[in-house]
Structure formats: C-alpha cells, structure tokens
C-alpha cells in the first residue's frame, strides 16, 4: 500500500513568489495534517482536516497561507507571497481519523528554500 505522497520534494523560490505543495494521504484516512518543521526542531502543526473540513487552523498564518482539501482526499497548501522565514520542510500526515487516538503516517515532506 502506498504511503503519504507529497510533491514536489524540493522547491526553491525567490521571496514574494507564490508556492504550492500537494499531498495525497493514505487511502481511507479521514484526517489530514500539515506540519512545518524548521531545522533542528520538531514538526509544528499548521492545519488539520477531518474529511474536507478544517477543524484546527489556529497555527496557520492566514495572511499568507491557505489550504484546501477538496472532496476530502488530496490537499494543497499554498503560500503567497513567500517570505525568507518560510524556508522549512512542510510535512503532510494522515490518520484514520474521527478524533481517535491513532498513529499518524507522514509523507517525506517538501523542502522549501526562499531566497
């Protein structure tokens, strides 16, 4: 069974440019998470979806970040415009969902470099 798929794996852009990351969770997983991981730190939750509904986006910088999960499957995270401080690895994870105590399955991440 395929794991969580993310693309692209790497992205280099100049500041003020837009960027988008795509995630395909494990089939049947209702909950999808986007995390940001800075070098030497643990992942930090940006947004969590239960099916197509964003149920926790308190840590998402809404002035420049947006996310969507149409049809409750794939998800896209967008940054517009990007800033130097946005350089990080963006991780997508999924779990079975419905608020159950459950392990999360992570994708390989997208490493973003903003110049």
């Amino acid at each position: 069974e395929a794991g969580v798929v993310q693309s692209p794996r790497y992205k280099i852009i100049e500041k003020k440019q837009p960027v988008a990351f795509w995630c395909n969770p494990i089939s049947g997983h209702n909950t999808l998470y986007w995390y940001r991981q800075n070098l030497g730190q643990g992942p930090e939750l940006l947004i969590r979806y239960e099916n197509e509904e964003a149920v926790d986006d308190s840590q998402l910088p809404k002035d420049r970040f947006s996310a969507e999960r149409l049809k409750g499957v794939d998800s896209t995270l967008k940054i517009q415009p990007a800033e130097l401080g946005d350089s990080a690895v963006y991780l997508c994870a999924s779990s079975l969902g419905s608020g159950k105590v459950d392990e999360q399955f992570f994708g390989p991440g997208t490493r973003l470099t903003v110049l």
């Binding site: 643990g42 939750l45 926790d56 159950k100 105590v101 392990e103 399955f105 390989p108």
Partner: protein, 111 residues
C-alpha cells in the same frame, strides 16, 4: 503555554548498550504520548503510543514509560544497534489526536 523538552544534545552510545531518551512537558496534561523516529530527509515514523493510565509499554527492543506526576516520559532502546541511529521525537497529545512535538533527540550508536 505548553512546553515539550527533549535533550537537544546528541546522545552517543556504544553498540549493545541501552539508550535512554527523556521527554519532559510542562503546562500540559496529555491523555497519551507518542514516540516517533525521524531519519534525515524523511518524515517521522511512528514507534509507540502510551496512554496516561499506562505506566509502561514495550515493543521488541523498545520500552516507553509515562509518569504523569513527574510529567515525564522515558524512551529506552535495549541492545542498541548502529541502525538505531536517528532523531527520536516525543509527542504528547490530547484526546483529539493533536500532537505537540518536542524538538527531538539525535541518537548516535557507534559500532
């Protein structure tokens, strides 16, 4: 605010010894706690989950303890191997499966 502390310094041990990693948390009463392993360039991989009413959990060479009085979890790897070298992340969570990750501890097992 919630604070999750893991030793930011790398832990270097000899092959065959037991590695013990510490996770302390403050301003938090998690219902359970998960441990993940992360290799360079990869996403975290789930290892173990322990609930607040469990004192200890084991899986093969891994053992996790959870002391809600001390607000601490210990993660042990017995008979460590060079392949165990990685960063280990502690993640306390509330009942809604919302994880708060610590900064991770890098483990280096030398042959």
């Amino acid at each position: 605010s919630q604070k999750i502390e893991q030793n930011s310094e790398a832990l270097n041990i000899q092959e065959g010894k037991t590695a013990t990693l510490t996770c302390n948390y403050t301003n938090y009463s998690p219902a359970y706690l998960q441990w993940y392993r992360q290799d360079p360039g990869r996403g975290p991989v789930f290892l173990l989950l322990i609930r607040e009413n469990e004192k200890e959990k084991r899986k093969e060479r891994l053992k996790v303890t959870f002391d809600t009085t001390l607000k601490q979890s210990l993660f042990h790897i017995t008979a460590s191997q060079p392949a165990d070298s990685a960063t280990y992340l502690c993640a306390p969570a509330n009942a809604g499966n919302m994880l708060t990750f610590g900064g991770g501890t890098r483990l280096m097992v030398k042959p």
